[in-house]
């Protein structure tokens, strides 16, 4: 339900994907079209592009609901705010993380990414983007009351994104070199599971603080 609303709220759904496409198109224009160089940097840059595309729509997660008072209504509903946070983060993931993960291997073709590495890219993004959405939605709850908090939100969220980025990109890099990539992939999954276990409580608290 909230996911449908997130799609319809305008601009969020397609925008992240198009932004991701533009980043991927700009990379060879900046680096030069050398195929081996592109294959070398593709894993990290694709992850970075996905991360930035994710960041783009974060202040939308709670922002409009906070302004028009829907969040107050949600807070008075029988649903605990922790569950509201999870629903919002899930909606964000369905509208940005999932499409990005599915599109990444296709865009990898533009960067001379091998088929195996593309597969690893898809897996690592599928496992890692939930963490990105959850951490991002947590950051959004912190900056809810701040006017024009977009820049602050990035400053808070990007340091927290680092572990996910390191291990996600490492999995793809290992795969592109023909090495085993199960360990970084498991760590990415662990980060996602850890955030889903811890952050609802932190975000619920932050929402309550902002709504009082």
């Amino acid at each position: 339900m909230i996911s449908v609303l997130a799609v319809r709220s305008g601009g969020g759904f397609g925008l992240a994907l198009v932004f991701f496409l533009i980043v991927v198109v700009l990379i060879p224009l900046g680096l030069g079209p050398d195929q081996s160089t592109l294959a070398l940097v593709a894993p990290g840059l694709l992850w970075l592009g996905a991360l930035l595309a994710c960041l783009l729509s974060l202040d939308r997660i709670f922002g409009l609901d906070y302004e028009d008072g829907s969040l107050d209504l949600l807070a008075t509903s029988p649903l605990p705010l922790e569950a509201v946070y999870i629903a919002k983060a899930a909606a964000h993931w369905l509208t940005t993380g999932l499409p990005l993960a599915l599109a990444a291997p296709l865009l990898g073709v533009l960067l001379n990414l091998s088929f195996d590495a593309g597969k690893a890219m898809c897996f690592s993004l599928l496992l890692g983007t939930p963490a990105l959405s959850l951490i991002g939605a947590f950051g959004a709850t912190l900056t809810l009351g701040v006017k024009r908090g977009g820049l602050l939100l990035s400053l808070l969220v990007l340091p927290l994104y680092v572990p996910t980025l390191i291990f996600g990109a490492r999995a793809v890099r290992s795969a592109s070199l023909g090495q085993a990539f199960d360990v970084p992939l498991i760590i990415v999954l662990a980060i996602s599971l850890g955030t889903v276990a811890i952050l609802p409580f932190a975000s619920g608290a932050a929402l309550r603080i902002n709504l009082r």
Binding site: L152, P159, V162, P163
Partner: protein, 239 residues
């Protein structure tokens, strides 16, 4: 029996200082003394470390930056610890002094992180042949610096003091879990240290140098406490 009553006395003093008015009076009285102590310690510690310690066999006089680098790095991490404990106590017991300590610890920790990064880079150039490597230890310190910046920015961005105290406390708690777990994970995947950094020099075993390092650490703590106190004197309880 005697020791238990003494520890109880200290414990009572601790909670009495949780009263902002008592704490401000107390820290205000100590601040001038601490200021002079800081000047004295910082001056004597740095002069001692830089001019009156012998050179290392392999590293030459470059090793002396350790008297600035190690205490700063320790203080950078302890600043985060103080921030964490202060935030936790604020969320549990709602004592303003604890969140005030957390707020005052952040700029101290950030500055110390910057000093540790800068001195490490200056030391790294002659030793490793480069100012910077993307080694897990260095990377996590850089991320800690960014995290301090985010924490301070969040304090600055929220107008209502109690809301800001609550939200930054939540951030400090989450940051400890996510940010500081990262170097651990990195070491799991990449256990080898950066090239050229293999343990300590031989002279580290000597008791004298040990004392010198403890002294320089004490200097850093003193400087840190002084900065935190002078930060807290311009705090939001004044208005």
């Amino acid at each position: 029996m005697n020791s238990t009553s003494k520890s109880k006395h200290l414990w009572n003093l601790f909670w009495k200082l949780a009263n902002p008015k008592v704490f401000m009076g107390w820290s205000g009285r100590w601040l001038p003394w601490l200021s002079w102590l800081t000047v004295l310690f910082l001056g004597s510690g740095l002069i001692w470390g830089f001019f009156f310690t012998p050179d290392d066999i392999r590293q030459g006089s470059t090793v002396k930056i350790i008297y600035l680098h190690v205490p700063a790095a320790l203080m950078a991490i302890n600043g985060y610890l103080l921030m964490f404990v202060g935030s936790l106590m604020w969320l549990i017991r709602r004592q303003h002094v604890s969140v005030l300590a957390a707020k005052a610890a952040a700029p101290v920790g950030m500055t110390m992180t910057l000093i540790a990064l800068a001195t490490g880079a200056i030391w790294g150039q002659p030793m490793w042949g480069t100012y910077w490597v993307w080694d897990p230890r260095l990377t996590s310190f850089l991320i800690m610096f960014l995290f301090y910046a985010g924490y301070i920015a969040l304090w600055a961005a929220i107008d209502d003091d109690d809301t800001a105290a609550d939200l930054t406390s939540v951030l400090a708690l989450v940051g400890l879990g996510l940010c500081l777990a990262q170097p651990l994970c990195s070491f799991v995947l990449e256990p080898r240290p950066a090239s050229g950094y293999n343990g300590y020099s031989d002279r580290w075993n000597q008791a004298r140098e040990y004392f010198e390092c403890i002294f320089s650490t004490a200097v850093a703590y003193d400087a840190g406490v002084w900065t935190a106190f002078s930060n807290s004197s311009t705090n939001w309880y004044a208005h």
